[in-house]
Each structure stands twice: as C-alpha cells, then as structure tokens.
C-alpha cells in the first residue's frame, strides 16, 4: 500500500537536496529573464505583422522563454535519478521500505512544483519588468502550466528509463529544449515558422503550451482557450508514464556520470 508519509519524507529530502545545490534552479529562472531582455524588441514586429498592433514583444518572448527553459525540468528529474547512481545511494534507497512508486512520486512532485513556480516567477517578471499584458483570464493559465510541468517531468522520467548514462539523458534534454522550443513556437510566433515545422509541431509539448499561453495572453481568452492544450499535455504525460512504466527498471545499473 502506498504511504503518503514516506512520499512526504522523499519530497522533503529532494527539496533539501535542491536547496543545497540551487544553481540549476537559479539558471531555470535567471536564464530566460536575461534572454527576454535581449529578444523582446526583435519580436515586436513579428507580432504586429501577425495582427497584434498593440503588442510590445513581451507577449511572445516571455511565455516563449518560460516554456523553452521549462524543458530544463527534464534535466532536473533525470539528474535526480542518475545522481543516486553516482552517489551509490540508489541500492540503499531501493532497500528501504519505500516502494518504487513512492520513490518516483517523491522525486517528481518537487520538480512539478519547481516548474509551476518557475512559470509564475517568469510571467510575474514579464508583467513587472517587461510590460507583459495578459489580455485574457490569467487564472486560466494555472491548469495549463500545471499540465505542462507534469508533462515535462514525466517526459524526464521516461528519458531516465530509456537512457543508461547521464550523458545520454543530458544530450536528449538539451536537444529537446532547443528542438521542441523552436518547432513548438517558443522562439518566434508559430505563424512565421516554415510549413514543415508547423506540420510536426503538435507532437511537441511546447507547441501545446504555447498555444494555450498565446490564446490567453494575446487573444484574450479564458479557460476555454486552454482546455484543448491542457488535455493534450495530459495525454502526452500519460504516454510518457506508459513508457516509464514499461521501460523503467529499478534493478538496472545506470552510469551516473564520468
């Protein structure tokens, strides 16, 4: 039977580990804020051209950079597994009374929380510093952001299951961040992407996140604008869960790093 108390112990432990090494999380927030400052002026003309005459560029670059850097959650969750192998704590964690499910849930929950907090901070900085104006109902973004974070974290668990070494997982995370960010419309407005990119974009979580963000921020929509993207992100999360369940072998020896 699943023990929520043990999950709580693992969650607290993971949060403590994250506090002791906060740099990766700082990068998650600081990196997009810096890029927003550089890219905002360049993206205004594209938005104006696409029928948003009052846009100042922040409407594309703030959610875009937030969505792209959120992909770093994949790195964070894969690292949390591979670090256990590098520190030789994996076997003793498995030999504890915690079940496999409790270990996975205990590791994923903090990263989902970090993902939500990251989005809130970057959108908040967008409003406070970069003149981001959310035309629609900002509360509608909550389910979308939660679904996006859950989706990325579970993608990270699936990547962990499929990779044997930390280097493989890191390579995938980096490639995914850049590729999915570009194809998903996080760099530039979706409408200016080449046709082939627009055709394959729906297979990326970033596309659905950006579609929901755009409909609330630029098109002024409410919850109705995020239902389809949220459902698609949760469907992808379910797919990643299936991959993780089929491929994650707790007795597999993984190479932490080096």
């Amino acid at each position: 039977m699943i023990s929520f108390r043990r999950i709580g112990v693992i969650v607290a432990h993971e949060m403590r580990l994250a506090r002791r090494d906060p740099l990766p999380i700082m990068v998650l927030i600081v990196f997009p804020v810096i890029t927003i400052a550089f890219l905002k002026p360049a993206l205004r003309p594209a938005l104006v051209q696409n029928g948003y005459p009052h846009a100042n560029g922040a409407e594309q670059v703030v959610p875009g950079q937030a969505a792209m850097s959120a992909f770093f959650l994949v790195t964070l969750i894969t690292f949390s597994f591979f670090a256990e192998h590098a520190w030789a704590t994996w076997d003793r964690l498995r030999a504890s009374p915690a079940t496999s499910l409790e270990i996975v849930v205990g590791k994923t929950v903090p990263r989902v929380v970090i993902g939500i907090a990251q989005f809130a901070l970057i959108l908040g900085a967008g409003v406070a510093i970069f003149g981001l104006h959310i035309r629609g109902d900002a509360a509608a973004l909550i389910p979308l952001v939660i679904a996006f974070s859950v989706c990325l974290v579970l993608l990270g668990v699936a990547v962990t299951a499929l990779c044997r070494t930390a280097q493989q997982a890191n390579s995938f995370s980096y490639l995914g961040m850049v590729l999915f960010g570009a194809i998903g419309g996080a760099f530039v407005p979706f409408s200016v992407l080449p046709g082939w990119a627009r055709a394959i974009a729906p297979v990326t979580p970033t596309y659905w996140a950006m579609r929901g963000l755009r409909s609330v921020i630029l098109d002024g929509r409410g919850i109705g604008g995020v239902v389809a993207p949220t459902v698609m992100l949760l469907a992808m999360a379910a797919l990643f869960t299936v991959v993780a369940l089929r491929r994650l072998r707790f007795d597999e020896t993984k190479v932490g790093w080096g």
Binding site: R5, R6, I10, R20, A88, D91, R92, P97
Partner: protein, 318 residues
C-alpha cells in the same frame, strides 16, 4: 516478529547470461547470531546479499526474512532489513545527521524516537562530532562509518553488511566489528560478507564459505576448523620446488609447497634431510596451524587469496 530464524534462504539461484553466480544456496541465520559469509572476489557473496536485501531478483529459490517472502513482498520485508551495500552510499551535499534522518524517516522513525536512534548509532560509530558536517567534507573512513550507520539506524532485525571494512582505516574497522558484536548481542541477525578471514575469526561468527556460487562449507568456526582444518608445513624456495619436496599430498603453489600434516615438526625433521643440496634454495619454513584458511584449502583444493577472483588454481601433486 516471526518465531523462526530471521533469515531462511533455500535453493537460491542466479545467473548473468552464461555465468552462474549462485548455484542453489541454502542459508539459515538465527536472531542474535552473526553469519560470516566468506569467499574470494567473484564467489557470489554480493549477489547473494543483494538478493536477500530484495534489490535483485533470484532466478530460483526462496528467501524469507522475519517470515516474509522477500521476492513477493520486498517493501514489507525491507522494514526488517538494514542493508549496507559494498559501495559507500551517502548524500554528499547533506550533513551526516540529515543522511541518517532521511533513512530513519523512510523506516518510519519520527520525533524523539528518531533523534534517540540517530544519537545512539552516531555514538556507537563515532559520528556524533560529525553530525553537522556534510558528506562531502568527511574522510573516507568517516563515510564508511556513516554508510554503516544508515543501515542500522532503524534497529533492523536482519543486518546485511557487504564487505563493510573495505578501504576502512584501523579505527573504523575496529568500531564496525565492535558494533556488529553488539548488534548480535542485542538480538539482531547479522550477515557479514567479507573476504577477510581474520575478521570472521575476530567476530567468532558462524561461517559459510561460498565459492563459485555454492556454499562449500558452513558451521561454527570451531566445528569447521576441527572438521576441515589441518596443520601443515610450508616450504618456500628461491626457485622451483624440488622433486624431493613433492611428497604425497603436498600442494605446490609457485615456488612454495604445502604439506598437510598433523605433526609439522616431525614432518620437517623427516623431509628436510631429503632435500640435500636443495636446502640452499630454501627461503622459509612455516608451520600453519588449523585455521579458516586451511578449511578453505581443504574444501576447495585452492589457497584462499582474498583479492584473487574465485577460480585461481594451484598445482596439486597427485
């Protein structure tokens, strides 16, 4: 607590591809006793211990801990097991106390009980002064002590220590051995895997010799030595062993010959004159008393060398 033995393993088998790691191992460990699991590198000790710990699945056989089938209910069995794997596993960015607190919390210890257990195990392994130091800031020996302490913090009924003194300094080794004795005195069953024979002799443990995935001899230290141990005369030469020294029953190993005999002094008196001019090449004459080493030699036909993979061959004289 189950009224039977704390650990019962029956017919445990495991293979990695074509390599057989365990070929049907039976073990029983009662509460309050220490089982010294002895064997050369590659003999199957770690595989056996990790199967008992429930982190590796056997291909066949059964393992029960405190009456619980480890393969069927590993999570329930884990409440009764304290496992220290061979590789030192701690969280380097957490303090010593935080490392202990995490595993104590997973085992269900809370509040005052958790603090008391952390203090007790810290005191027993000399960690108290290090409680606020991070894992990355302590020495190798201190890490080894913390690694062992984590396995013991929840006062498990079955303690599995896989080569706990590997790389340990003299102090750490002494503290671990003392703690193992006190654990058994307090009622825990201990499986102590090692390739150091003298540690088992120091612990006065029940012994199970494992070799090529089989238990080749087991029993109390005294009974094994009485049954299989033999005294012997060992002659070491500066070159090959001369034919005159290759008497019946002698085992030649490189430049030395071991002659099993209940009367080493008498055998020396008879053998040395036969060597003639070869005595000039004699480097050493040693007398081996019955010991675990001689038990291993008797049951396997090979000298026990801790660091040599199982399977090292000595040349036997027909």
């Amino acid at each position: 607590m189950s009224p039977g033995p704390t650990l019962v393993a029956e017919g445990v088998r495991k293979a990695y591809g074509a390599t057989v790691a365990l070929a049907g191992v039976d073990l029983t460990v009662e509460a309050g006793t220490i089982l010294g699991l002895l064997g050369p590198n590659g003999a199957g000790k770690t595989t056996l211990v990790s199967i008992v710990a429930g982190i590796r699945r056997a291909d066949g056989g059964r393992v029960h801990v405190a009456g619980i089938d480890v393969a069927r209910e590993p999570d329930r069995a884990h409440r009764f097991i304290g496992y220290a794997p061979q590789d030192t596993g701690i969280y380097p960015t957490l303090t010593v106390r935080e490392n202990l607190r995490f595993f104590a919390g997973l085992a269900g210890l809370r509040g005052g009980e958790q603090r008391d257990r952390i203090d007790a195990v810290g005191d027993a392994l000399g960690l108290t002064a290090l409680f606020d130091r991070r894992g990355a800031q302590i020495s190798g020996g201190e890490r080894r002590r913390l690694h062992t302490a984590i396995a013991l913090v929840h006062r498990p009924q079955l303690v599995l220590l896989d080569e706990p003194t590997t790389g340990a300094d003299v102090r750490t080794r002494g503290e671990i051995l003392a703690l193992v004795r006190s654990l058994a005195e307090s009622g825990s069953a201990v499986v102590y895997s090692t390739h150091y024979l003298h540690e088992i002799e120091e612990l006065s443990a029940t012994v199970a010799f494992i070799d090529h995935g089989r238990i080749v001899a087991s029993g109390s230290l005294a009974s094994l030595v009485e049954r299989f141990g033999s005294s012997a005369l060992v002659l070491r030469f500066d070159g090959s062993v001369p034919a005159a020294a290759r008497v019946d029953g002698a085992v030649v190993d490189g430049q030395s010959v071991r002659v099993p005999t209940p009367d080493p002094a008498g055998t020396a008196a008879r053998l040395l004159p036969r060597l003639g001019h070869h005595t000039a090449g004699l480097l050493a004459i040693e007398v081996e008393r019955p010991s675990l080493e001689s038990v291993f030699l008797t049951v396997t036909g090979r000298r026990y060398e801790a660091g040599v993979p199982s399977g090292a061959v000595a040349e036997a004289v027909a």
